[in-house]
Amino acid sequence: QEVDMQQQADNIRTVFSDPQNFNVKHPLYSPWTLWFDSPATKGRNLPQTPMTSFPQTPLPQTPGGLAAQGWMEDIKRVISFDSVEEFWGLHNNIVPPSQLPQKANYYLFKEGIIPAWEDEANKNGGKWSIQLPKDKNRLNIDKMWLYTMLAAIGETCDPLLDGEGDQQPQSLITGVIVSTRPQFYRLSIWTRTAPAGSGTPEDEKLRDRIEAIGKHFKMSVLGYSEGQKLAGPLATEVEFLSHKDSEKKGKQAKKIVV
């Protein structure tokens, strides 16, 4: 019996026991796609050859989907992956946010969800985001982005995923974004739904769940303490805004701050 166990253990080789010839890999909860855009990808006819071998994401054939098509033209799909090992292979061979040109964005979204609010999975949702002055965070941003991605692919952001019987509720996270701007960085976590502020018990429950994601983002991912004030010149608190409210350009926007 013991020999069998030993044999079985010998047959399973993770990347830790054999980095060259491992035979098992760690699947992610969901497959993910990384997208990128910058001024260099806009309005330029980039050679498509390397991309033709990849399946393109079908855009939803809805009015929103068509509107998103224009937005998506300049956004380049980098890679899709579904294992921990592939994620690190990608991470170790790509440009970190601190070295991106200005006005660039990485979008890491679940496969099949395009990084636009028009997507079915995003249109009723919103985003937690924080804006960080570039000068003070040039040395931090790569780690903050890495930790944000790890929380996303590891699915540790959404507390409701903690086992409740047989049910595994759908994760509220659809994607994460890092943006570089001339004077600041922005990190965002996009959610599938957003509380309406109607005050119904269901809406309150959703608000609690969304707030828990925000708190996890602020404290566990970004490393700030609870109640720490972050706003300042070029800096914001960790704040949530529904995509519908974002459209209103701040007029009646109901922000949640943690």
Partner: protein, 94 residues
């Protein structure tokens, strides 16, 4: 540029041929490597696992190989900005 002389490995990479772990609890890791937090996968369905950050970070130093499906970055306009260049043009407010 720079990537042109790259030679592809002749054999499919371990990454491409490795199979998906179906039961995370049956995996034993070498000494010094932490298993994923058990609480995260109490009711995990086959192949759908959650991983804590400390577990994931352990892969950083081992998984260095470029995935086969990563296109040449310059072909999609993804290149590091020349910090010196942008700064000398006064682009950064540093």
């Amino acid at each position: 540029s720079g990537t042109k002389g790259l030679i592809q490995p002749p054999l499919p990479s371990a990454l491409a041929t490795a199979r998906i772990i179906e039961d995370i609890s049956e995996i034993s890791y070498p000494e010094g490597i932490k298993s994923p937090q058990v609480e995260l996968n109490v009711n995990a369905k086959q192949g759908k696992f959650r991983y804590d950050r400390d577990f994931l970070l352990q892969f950083m130093a081992v998984c260095k190989e470029k995935p086969d499906s990563l296109p040449p970055l310059d072909a999609i306009g993804l290149e590091p900005s020349d910090q010196h260049f942008t700064m000398s043009r006064g682009g950064s407010g540093r």
